[in-house]
Protein backbone atom coordinates (compact mmCIF):
# COMPACT_ATOMS: atom_id res chain seq x y z
CA UNK A 1 0.00 0.00 0.00
CA UNK A 2 1.35 3.39 -0.93
CA UNK A 3 -0.04 6.44 0.83
CA UNK A 4 0.12 9.71 -1.10
CA UNK A 5 3.34 11.52 -0.15
CA UNK A 6 4.69 8.55 1.75
CA UNK A 7 8.20 7.25 1.09
CA UNK A 8 7.03 3.80 2.16
CA UNK A 9 7.00 0.99 1.38
CA UNK A 10 10.75 0.53 1.50
CA UNK A 11 12.05 -2.32 -0.57
CA UNK A 12 15.40 -4.01 -0.05
CA UNK A 13 16.07 -6.11 -3.11
CA UNK A 14 18.71 -8.82 -3.03
CA UNK A 15 21.03 -6.76 -0.83
CA UNK A 16 24.55 -8.06 -0.31
CA UNK A 17 27.33 -6.38 1.62
CA UNK A 18 30.79 -7.90 1.39
CA UNK A 19 34.17 -6.94 2.76
CA UNK A 20 37.18 -8.58 1.13
CA UNK A 21 34.92 -11.15 -0.48
CA UNK A 22 33.31 -12.14 2.81
CA UNK A 23 29.56 -11.60 2.66
CA UNK A 24 28.38 -9.95 5.87
CA UNK A 25 24.84 -9.51 4.53
CA UNK A 26 23.67 -11.94 1.90
CA UNK A 27 20.91 -11.67 -0.71
CA UNK A 28 18.51 -9.92 1.62
CA UNK A 29 15.09 -9.09 0.20
CA UNK A 30 12.59 -7.34 2.47
CA UNK A 31 9.72 -4.91 2.29
CA UNK A 32 8.75 -2.46 5.02
CA UNK A 33 5.29 -0.96 5.06
CA UNK A 34 3.61 1.73 7.07
CA UNK A 35 2.32 0.52 10.41
CA UNK A 36 3.89 -2.10 12.62
CA UNK A 37 7.00 -1.55 14.71
CA UNK A 38 9.53 -3.75 12.99
CA UNK A 39 12.35 -5.15 15.09
CA UNK A 40 15.37 -6.72 13.48
CA UNK A 41 16.51 -9.34 15.93
CA UNK A 42 19.60 -11.47 15.94
CA UNK A 43 22.84 -12.15 17.76
CA UNK A 44 25.86 -9.87 17.48
CA UNK A 45 27.33 -10.05 14.00
CA UNK A 46 24.07 -11.01 12.35
CA UNK A 47 24.25 -7.99 10.01
CA UNK A 48 21.46 -5.97 11.67
CA UNK A 49 23.38 -2.75 11.83
CA UNK A 50 24.70 -3.10 8.27
CA UNK A 51 21.18 -3.66 7.02
CA UNK A 52 19.89 -0.51 8.74
CA UNK A 53 22.80 1.54 7.41
CA UNK A 54 22.25 0.34 3.86
CA UNK A 55 18.53 1.05 4.12
CA UNK A 56 19.24 4.54 5.49
CA UNK A 57 21.76 5.27 2.76
CA UNK A 58 24.90 5.46 4.92
CA UNK A 59 26.42 2.38 3.32
CA UNK A 60 26.49 1.46 -0.32
CA UNK A 61 25.51 -2.19 -0.80
CA UNK A 62 27.98 -4.37 -2.70
CA UNK A 63 25.06 -5.50 -4.81
CA UNK A 64 21.29 -5.19 -4.72
CA UNK A 65 19.00 -2.20 -4.42
CA UNK A 66 17.29 -0.01 -1.85
CA UNK A 67 14.01 1.38 -3.20
CA UNK A 68 11.86 4.14 -1.73
CA UNK A 69 8.67 5.54 -3.17
CA UNK A 70 9.62 9.21 -3.41
CA UNK A 71 12.25 11.25 -5.20
CA UNK A 72 13.93 12.58 -2.01
CA UNK A 73 13.42 9.89 0.61
CA UNK A 74 16.43 11.10 2.63
CA UNK A 75 14.50 14.12 3.87
CA UNK A 76 11.81 11.96 5.44
CA UNK A 77 13.87 9.54 7.46
CA UNK A 78 16.16 9.73 10.47
CA UNK A 79 18.44 7.43 12.39
CA UNK A 80 19.49 6.97 16.00
CA UNK A 81 22.78 5.21 16.64
CA UNK A 82 23.92 2.88 19.37
CA UNK A 83 26.31 5.50 20.69
CA UNK A 84 24.69 8.93 20.58
CA UNK A 85 26.75 11.40 18.53
CA UNK A 86 26.48 14.75 20.25
CA UNK A 87 27.75 17.92 18.63
CA UNK A 88 29.90 20.07 20.87
CA UNK A 89 27.24 22.57 21.81
CA UNK A 90 24.15 22.81 24.00
CA UNK A 91 21.33 20.27 23.93
CA UNK A 92 19.02 22.80 22.31
CA UNK A 93 21.66 23.78 19.74
CA UNK A 94 22.04 20.14 18.75
CA UNK A 95 18.41 20.08 17.69
CA UNK A 96 18.61 23.54 16.13
CA UNK A 97 21.54 22.37 14.04
CA UNK A 98 19.57 19.46 12.58
CA UNK A 99 16.60 21.71 11.86
CA UNK A 100 18.90 24.30 10.30
CA UNK A 101 20.19 21.67 7.88
CA UNK A 102 16.60 21.07 6.84
CA UNK A 103 16.31 24.76 6.04
CA UNK A 104 13.96 25.77 8.84
CA UNK A 105 13.94 29.38 9.93
CA UNK A 106 15.10 30.33 13.42
CA UNK A 107 11.70 30.99 14.93
CA UNK A 108 10.12 27.91 13.45
CA UNK A 109 13.05 25.78 14.57
CA UNK A 110 12.92 27.15 18.11
CA UNK A 111 9.24 26.32 18.38
CA UNK A 112 9.73 22.79 17.10
CA UNK A 113 12.78 22.27 19.29
CA UNK A 114 10.99 23.37 22.46
CA UNK A 115 8.14 21.09 21.59
CA UNK A 116 10.32 17.96 21.23
CA UNK A 117 12.38 18.87 24.28
CA UNK A 118 9.18 19.04 26.29
CA UNK A 119 7.88 15.77 24.86
CA UNK A 120 11.16 13.99 25.65
CA UNK A 121 11.39 15.50 29.12
CA UNK A 122 14.60 17.37 28.33
CA UNK A 123 13.38 20.97 28.70
CA UNK A 124 15.28 21.34 31.96
CA UNK A 125 18.64 20.60 30.40
CA UNK A 126 18.19 22.46 27.11
CA UNK A 127 21.00 24.92 27.75
CA UNK A 128 23.53 22.43 29.06
CA UNK A 129 26.40 21.27 26.85
CA UNK A 130 25.21 18.05 25.23
CA UNK A 131 28.43 16.19 25.90
CA UNK A 132 28.26 16.50 29.68
CA UNK A 133 24.79 14.88 29.82
CA UNK A 134 24.52 11.30 31.04
CA UNK A 135 24.58 8.71 28.31
CA UNK A 136 20.86 8.06 28.84
CA UNK A 137 20.06 11.76 28.47
CA UNK A 138 22.28 11.94 25.39
CA UNK A 139 20.37 9.10 23.77
CA UNK A 140 17.06 10.78 24.60
CA UNK A 141 18.41 13.95 23.05
CA UNK A 142 19.50 12.01 19.96
CA UNK A 143 15.96 10.68 19.65
CA UNK A 144 14.51 14.14 20.22
CA UNK A 145 16.81 15.48 17.50
CA UNK A 146 15.70 12.76 15.10
CA UNK A 147 12.05 13.24 16.00
CA UNK A 148 12.23 17.00 15.51
CA UNK A 149 12.85 16.28 11.84
CA UNK A 150 9.35 14.73 11.70
CA UNK A 151 10.55 11.65 9.85
CA UNK A 152 8.18 9.19 8.24
CA UNK A 153 10.65 6.45 9.07
CA UNK A 154 12.89 6.27 12.12
CA UNK A 155 15.76 3.79 12.14
CA UNK A 156 17.17 2.88 15.54
CA UNK A 157 20.35 0.83 15.77
CA UNK A 158 20.50 -0.87 19.17
CA UNK A 159 19.63 2.43 20.86
CA UNK A 160 19.69 1.04 24.40
CA UNK A 161 22.71 -1.24 24.15
CA UNK A 162 24.85 0.96 26.39
CA UNK A 163 22.09 2.04 28.79
CA UNK A 164 20.94 0.96 32.25
CA UNK A 165 17.39 -0.42 32.71
CA UNK A 166 15.91 2.89 33.84
CA UNK A 167 17.28 4.77 30.84
CA UNK A 168 16.25 1.89 28.60
CA UNK A 169 12.68 2.19 29.85
CA UNK A 170 12.66 5.91 29.07
CA UNK A 171 13.87 5.24 25.53
CA UNK A 172 11.35 2.45 24.94
CA UNK A 173 8.52 4.71 26.13
CA UNK A 174 9.70 7.36 23.71
CA UNK A 175 9.77 4.89 20.85
CA UNK A 176 6.16 3.93 21.62
CA UNK A 177 5.18 7.60 21.65
CA UNK A 178 6.86 8.27 18.33
CA UNK A 179 5.24 5.21 16.83
CA UNK A 180 1.86 6.31 18.13
CA UNK A 181 2.39 9.68 16.49
CA UNK A 182 2.63 7.92 13.11
CA UNK A 183 6.30 7.35 12.44
CA UNK A 184 7.37 3.97 11.09
CA UNK A 185 9.83 2.34 13.54
CA UNK A 186 12.58 0.08 12.19
CA UNK A 187 14.89 -0.93 15.00
CA UNK A 188 17.61 -3.46 15.61
CA UNK A 189 18.26 -5.24 18.88
CA UNK A 190 19.96 -8.36 20.19
CA UNK A 191 17.92 -8.18 23.40
CA UNK A 192 15.07 -10.71 23.30
CA UNK A 193 13.23 -9.03 26.17
CA UNK A 194 13.26 -5.72 24.39
CA UNK A 195 11.98 -7.33 21.22
CA UNK A 196 9.15 -8.88 23.23
CA UNK A 197 8.25 -5.55 24.80
CA UNK A 198 8.34 -3.48 21.61
CA UNK A 199 7.94 -5.54 18.47
CA UNK A 200 4.86 -5.85 16.31
CA UNK A 201 6.84 -7.93 13.87
CA UNK A 202 10.22 -9.63 14.04
CA UNK A 203 12.79 -9.96 11.31
CA UNK A 204 15.31 -12.53 12.48
CA UNK A 205 18.79 -12.32 10.96
CA UNK A 206 21.60 -14.76 11.51
CA UNK A 207 25.05 -14.52 9.94
CA UNK A 208 23.89 -12.06 7.34
CA UNK A 209 21.00 -14.20 6.19
CA UNK A 210 17.27 -13.74 6.76
CA UNK A 211 16.03 -16.63 8.88
CA UNK A 212 12.42 -15.61 9.19
CA UNK A 213 9.96 -12.77 9.32
CA UNK A 214 7.09 -13.35 11.69
CA UNK A 215 4.47 -11.42 13.61
CA UNK A 216 5.76 -10.86 17.12
CA UNK A 217 2.89 -12.74 18.70
CA UNK A 218 3.81 -15.86 16.73
CA UNK A 219 7.60 -15.53 16.88
CA UNK A 220 7.90 -15.88 20.62
CA UNK A 221 5.57 -18.87 20.82
CA UNK A 222 6.31 -20.72 17.59
CA UNK A 223 9.24 -19.47 15.57
CA UNK A 224 9.40 -20.86 12.03
CA UNK A 225 13.14 -21.21 11.71
CA UNK A 226 15.57 -23.46 13.50
CA UNK A 227 17.81 -20.43 14.15
CA UNK A 228 14.94 -18.48 15.69
CA UNK A 229 14.05 -21.39 17.90
CA UNK A 230 17.63 -21.87 19.02
CA UNK A 231 17.97 -18.14 19.81
CA UNK A 232 14.77 -18.16 21.87
CA UNK A 233 16.01 -21.17 23.81
CA UNK A 234 19.14 -19.28 24.69
CA UNK A 235 21.55 -21.28 22.58
CA UNK A 236 24.60 -19.75 20.98
CA UNK A 237 24.26 -19.63 17.21
CA UNK A 238 27.70 -20.55 15.86
Amino acid sequence: MTLPGSILPLKLIDLTYAVDGQKLVQNLTLEFTQGPKTLILGPNGAGKSLTLRMAHGLLKPTSGQVQWQQRHPQRHQAMVFQRPVMLRRSAAANIDYALGLKGLGKAEAAELRNEVLAKTGLSGIATRPARVLSIGEQQRLAIARAWALRPQVLFLDEPTASLDPKATRAIEDLIETIHAAGTKIIMSTHDMGQAKRLADEIIFLNQGVLSERTAASDFFTSPHSAEGRAFLEGELLL
Binding site: L58, F81, Y97
Partner: protein, 234 residues
Amino acid sequence: MNDFSQAFSLSLDLIFSLDARLAEIVLLSLRVSLSAVLIATLIGLPLGAALATLRFPGRRTVNAFLSSLMGLPPVVVGLVVYLLLSRSGPMGSLGLLFTPTAMIIAQSLLITPIIASLARQVSEDLWGEYRDQLTSLGCEPLRAVPTILWDGRYRLTTAVLAGFGRATAEVGAVMIVGGNIDHVTRVMTTTIALETSKGNLSLALALGMILITLSLTINVATFMIRDQVKGESL
Protein backbone atom coordinates in the same frame (compact mmCIF):
# COMPACT_ATOMS: atom_id res chain seq x y z
CA MET B 1 78.46 29.80 32.06
CA ASN B 2 79.19 33.44 32.63
CA ASP B 3 77.44 34.13 29.33
CA PHE B 4 74.18 32.69 30.61
CA SER B 5 74.01 34.67 33.85
CA GLN B 6 75.09 37.78 32.00
CA ALA B 7 72.45 37.19 29.33
CA PHE B 8 69.81 36.61 31.98
CA SER B 9 70.43 39.86 33.82
CA LEU B 10 70.74 41.67 30.49
CA SER B 11 67.36 40.39 29.35
CA LEU B 12 65.78 41.53 32.61
CA ASP B 13 67.42 44.93 32.19
CA LEU B 14 66.08 45.24 28.65
CA ILE B 15 62.58 44.25 29.66
CA PHE B 16 62.30 46.40 32.75
CA SER B 17 63.92 49.47 31.26
CA LEU B 18 61.24 49.28 28.54
CA ASP B 19 63.98 49.71 25.96
CA ALA B 20 62.42 51.54 23.01
CA ARG B 21 64.50 49.73 20.40
CA LEU B 22 63.55 46.40 21.89
CA ALA B 23 59.87 47.39 21.95
CA GLU B 24 60.02 48.36 18.28
CA ILE B 25 61.57 45.03 17.33
CA VAL B 26 59.18 42.99 19.46
CA LEU B 27 56.16 44.82 18.07
CA LEU B 28 57.29 44.31 14.49
CA SER B 29 57.89 40.61 15.19
CA LEU B 30 54.40 40.27 16.60
CA ARG B 31 52.84 42.23 13.76
CA VAL B 32 54.54 40.15 11.08
CA SER B 33 53.98 36.78 12.72
CA LEU B 34 50.41 37.47 13.85
CA SER B 35 49.49 38.67 10.37
CA ALA B 36 51.02 35.56 8.85
CA VAL B 37 49.15 33.39 11.35
CA LEU B 38 45.88 35.15 10.55
CA ILE B 39 46.34 34.62 6.82
CA ALA B 40 47.42 31.02 7.29
CA THR B 41 44.43 30.43 9.59
CA LEU B 42 41.98 31.90 7.10
CA ILE B 43 43.30 29.55 4.42
CA GLY B 44 44.58 26.60 6.43
CA LEU B 45 41.63 25.80 8.68
CA PRO B 46 38.94 25.53 5.98
CA LEU B 47 41.41 23.77 3.69
CA GLY B 48 42.36 21.24 6.36
CA ALA B 49 38.74 20.56 7.29
CA ALA B 50 37.71 20.21 3.64
CA LEU B 51 40.51 17.72 3.02
CA ALA B 52 39.16 15.68 5.92
CA THR B 53 35.53 15.62 4.80
CA LEU B 54 35.73 15.61 1.01
CA ARG B 55 36.49 12.46 -0.95
CA PHE B 56 38.07 13.03 -4.33
CA PRO B 57 40.62 11.27 -6.53
CA GLY B 58 44.18 12.15 -5.59
CA ARG B 59 43.21 13.06 -2.03
CA ARG B 60 45.97 10.94 -0.52
CA THR B 61 48.53 12.57 -2.77
CA VAL B 62 47.35 16.02 -1.78
CA ASN B 63 47.53 15.08 1.89
CA ALA B 64 51.00 13.62 1.57
CA PHE B 65 52.12 16.69 -0.33
CA LEU B 66 50.68 19.00 2.31
CA SER B 67 52.33 17.04 5.11
CA SER B 68 55.69 17.20 3.43
CA LEU B 69 55.29 20.96 3.01
CA MET B 70 55.15 21.17 6.83
CA GLY B 71 58.86 20.64 6.78
CA LEU B 72 59.65 23.34 4.24
CA PRO B 73 63.00 24.94 5.04
CA PRO B 74 62.39 28.65 5.74
CA VAL B 75 65.44 29.58 3.64
CA VAL B 76 63.89 27.95 0.57
CA VAL B 77 60.58 29.73 1.12
CA GLY B 78 62.51 32.95 1.64
CA LEU B 79 64.45 32.44 -1.55
CA VAL B 80 61.34 31.70 -3.60
CA VAL B 81 59.55 34.78 -2.28
CA TYR B 82 62.71 36.83 -2.83
CA LEU B 83 62.91 35.80 -6.46
CA LEU B 84 59.20 36.47 -6.95
CA LEU B 85 59.31 39.92 -5.36
CA SER B 86 62.67 41.03 -6.69
CA ARG B 87 62.45 43.91 -9.15
CA SER B 88 63.70 41.46 -11.77
CA GLY B 89 61.12 38.88 -10.73
CA PRO B 90 57.52 38.40 -11.91
CA MET B 91 56.03 40.47 -9.07
CA GLY B 92 58.82 43.02 -8.90
CA SER B 93 56.66 45.95 -9.91
CA LEU B 94 54.84 45.74 -6.57
CA GLY B 95 58.01 46.95 -4.87
CA LEU B 96 57.44 44.70 -1.88
CA LEU B 97 60.91 43.29 -1.35
CA PHE B 98 62.51 44.34 1.95
CA THR B 99 59.18 45.36 3.48
CA PRO B 100 57.20 43.82 6.35
CA THR B 101 54.63 42.75 3.76
CA ALA B 102 57.24 40.55 2.09
CA MET B 103 57.99 38.96 5.45
CA ILE B 104 54.30 38.34 6.07
CA ILE B 105 53.98 36.68 2.66
CA ALA B 106 56.98 34.42 3.30
CA GLN B 107 55.81 33.40 6.75
CA SER B 108 52.27 32.79 5.52
CA LEU B 109 53.60 30.42 2.86
CA LEU B 110 55.71 28.73 5.47
CA ILE B 111 52.98 28.08 8.02
CA THR B 112 49.83 27.61 5.94
CA PRO B 113 50.77 23.96 5.25
CA ILE B 114 51.44 23.46 8.96
CA ILE B 115 48.09 24.83 10.06
CA ALA B 116 46.24 23.08 7.22
CA SER B 117 47.92 19.76 7.89
CA LEU B 118 47.31 19.82 11.64
CA ALA B 119 43.76 21.04 11.06
CA ARG B 120 43.22 18.11 8.73
CA GLN B 121 44.32 15.65 11.40
CA VAL B 122 42.02 17.18 14.03
CA SER B 123 39.18 17.33 11.49
CA GLU B 124 39.63 13.73 10.43
CA ASP B 125 39.20 12.56 14.03
CA LEU B 126 36.09 14.65 14.41
CA TRP B 127 34.69 13.69 11.02
CA GLY B 128 35.21 10.02 11.87
CA GLU B 129 32.99 10.57 14.89
CA TYR B 130 30.40 12.74 13.12
CA ARG B 131 30.21 11.38 9.60
CA ASP B 132 27.33 8.92 9.97
CA GLN B 133 25.28 11.25 12.14
CA LEU B 134 25.79 14.29 9.93
CA THR B 135 25.17 12.32 6.75
CA SER B 136 21.99 10.99 8.34
CA LEU B 137 20.92 14.55 9.08
CA GLY B 138 21.46 15.39 5.41
CA CYS B 139 24.72 17.31 5.79
CA GLU B 140 26.89 17.34 2.66
CA PRO B 141 30.67 16.99 3.19
CA LEU B 142 31.32 20.60 2.18
CA ARG B 143 28.56 21.84 4.49
CA ALA B 144 30.25 19.86 7.27
CA VAL B 145 33.38 22.02 7.05
CA PRO B 146 32.07 24.90 9.21
CA THR B 147 30.54 22.36 11.62
CA ILE B 148 33.88 20.61 12.01
CA LEU B 149 35.71 23.91 12.46
CA TRP B 150 33.25 25.11 15.07
CA ASP B 151 33.12 21.86 17.02
CA GLY B 152 36.88 21.37 16.77
CA ARG B 153 37.67 24.95 17.73
CA TYR B 154 39.44 24.11 20.99
CA ARG B 155 41.62 21.43 19.46
CA LEU B 156 42.31 23.60 16.43
CA THR B 157 43.93 26.27 18.61
CA THR B 158 46.86 23.88 18.89
CA ALA B 159 47.27 23.90 15.12
CA VAL B 160 47.18 27.69 15.04
CA LEU B 161 49.68 27.95 17.89
CA ALA B 162 52.02 25.54 16.13
CA GLY B 163 51.93 27.87 13.13
CA PHE B 164 52.54 30.88 15.33
CA GLY B 165 55.46 29.16 17.03
CA ARG B 166 57.05 28.34 13.73
CA ALA B 167 56.53 31.89 12.44
CA THR B 168 58.08 33.62 15.44
CA ALA B 169 60.98 31.19 15.60
CA GLU B 170 62.12 31.18 11.99
CA VAL B 171 64.90 33.46 10.82
CA GLY B 172 65.82 32.17 7.36
CA ALA B 173 62.85 33.47 5.41
CA VAL B 174 62.47 36.89 7.04
CA MET B 175 66.21 37.50 6.83
CA ILE B 176 66.20 36.97 3.07
CA VAL B 177 63.01 38.78 2.08
CA GLY B 178 63.14 41.45 4.80
CA GLY B 179 66.84 42.20 4.60
CA ASN B 180 67.06 42.87 8.35
CA ILE B 181 66.81 46.62 7.76
CA ASP B 182 67.10 48.65 10.95
CA HIS B 183 63.72 50.15 12.02
CA VAL B 184 61.99 48.63 8.97
CA THR B 185 62.32 44.87 8.83
CA ARG B 186 64.41 44.01 11.86
CA VAL B 187 62.60 41.44 13.98
CA MET B 188 63.56 39.37 17.02
CA THR B 189 65.18 36.48 15.19
CA THR B 190 67.12 38.57 12.69
CA THR B 191 68.35 40.77 15.53
CA ILE B 192 69.54 37.68 17.36
CA ALA B 193 71.37 36.53 14.22
CA LEU B 194 72.88 39.99 13.78
CA GLU B 195 74.03 40.35 17.38
CA THR B 196 75.51 36.85 17.23
CA SER B 197 77.48 37.80 14.15
CA LYS B 198 78.71 40.91 15.94
CA GLY B 199 79.99 38.69 18.70
CA ASN B 200 77.47 40.13 21.16
CA LEU B 201 76.65 36.67 22.43
CA SER B 202 75.13 37.78 25.75
CA LEU B 203 72.87 40.31 24.07
CA ALA B 204 71.86 37.74 21.47
CA LEU B 205 71.09 35.23 24.20
CA ALA B 206 69.17 37.84 26.19
CA LEU B 207 67.03 38.55 23.14
CA GLY B 208 66.56 34.81 22.72
CA MET B 209 65.31 34.55 26.30
CA ILE B 210 62.86 37.37 25.67
CA LEU B 211 61.63 35.65 22.53
CA ILE B 212 61.09 32.40 24.40
CA THR B 213 59.30 34.22 27.24
CA LEU B 214 57.10 35.99 24.74
CA SER B 215 56.05 32.87 22.90
CA LEU B 216 55.58 31.03 26.19
CA THR B 217 53.32 33.81 27.43
CA ILE B 218 51.22 33.73 24.29
CA ASN B 219 50.88 29.96 24.44
CA VAL B 220 49.95 29.88 28.11
CA ALA B 221 47.50 32.76 27.66
CA THR B 222 45.83 31.04 24.72
CA PHE B 223 45.45 27.78 26.60
CA MET B 224 44.06 29.59 29.64
CA ILE B 225 41.51 31.50 27.59
CA ARG B 226 40.66 28.32 25.76
CA ASP B 227 40.09 26.31 28.91
CA GLN B 228 38.11 29.15 30.45
CA VAL B 229 35.75 29.35 27.49
CA LYS B 230 35.67 25.60 27.11
CA GLY B 231 34.66 25.19 30.74
CA GLU B 232 31.71 27.45 30.07
CA SER B 233 30.39 25.97 26.84
CA LEU B 234 32.30 22.70 26.20
